[in-house]
Symmetry: C2
Subunit: 125 residues, 2 copies
């Protein structure tokens, strides 16, 4: 926790910073399937609140991973899609997915479910 030290940036940490918060990864995972409206994401990304969805999308846009397109209609229509940088996360998401699937098989779904619903977040969908 020392300050004013020479630091080198750890690439792994960058990825974590960009994706931090479970929601971002799940949002990108959904967007990998194709362009989505805000409403679709809210339905598909199980458990995300409107606030966190908006906030996550804003940050992802700022990081250049997600593109936002507003259609001047009423009711409003906003479409989200992945940029090239966003799409470059496909193999990352795939590996996360594969490891999770492997872990379930190893440990039995019930065991994993216990862990998911313990002190920590209940991520499902």
């Amino acid at each position: 926790m020392k300050k004013n030290e020479p630091m080198t940036i750890c690439p792994c940490a960058i990825t974590i910073a960009m994706l931090s918060s479970k929601w971002k990864i799940l949002i990108i995972r959904e967007l990998l399937k194709g362009t989505c409206r805000y409403r679709d994401l809210r339905e598909q990304v199980f458990g995300v609140s409107q606030k966190m969805l908006t906030q996550s999308l804003k940050e992802l846009e700022a990081d250049g991973l997600v593109a936002r397109r507003v259609y001047p209609e009423v009711p409003p229509r906003v479409e989200y899609s992945l940029t090239d940088d966003g799409n470059s996360l496909r193999p990352v998401i795939q590996v996360l997915d594969a490891w999770g699937a492997h872990y379930v098989v190893e440990k039995e779904p019930d065991y994993v479910a216990t862990r998911l619903t313990s002190t920590r977040q209940k991520i499902v969908g």
Copy 2:
């Protein structure tokens, strides 16, 4: 946000649940290099507090990713290492690492540093 719905577990979400919190990933990244004492981790995982390190290690142990071995000495010696399941995360960490490195090259280090030190966490090391 509906309740009492039939749910299927998303493998990607499982991975996120197991690794959630930047510290766990950075801790595992360090342990991939070999067995470590608590003290080593505190030095190598830049910025982690004793509390978060202890807490993260406890959860990782509970999830079967990390093994903890205590030597009855004074001052105490506790060694941490990865289990087989923990080691199976190597490709995951590698992909995170690779993507982060690619992102830096794409965006220029200064730009990335800005993002890392904005509203969100300052992960370096």
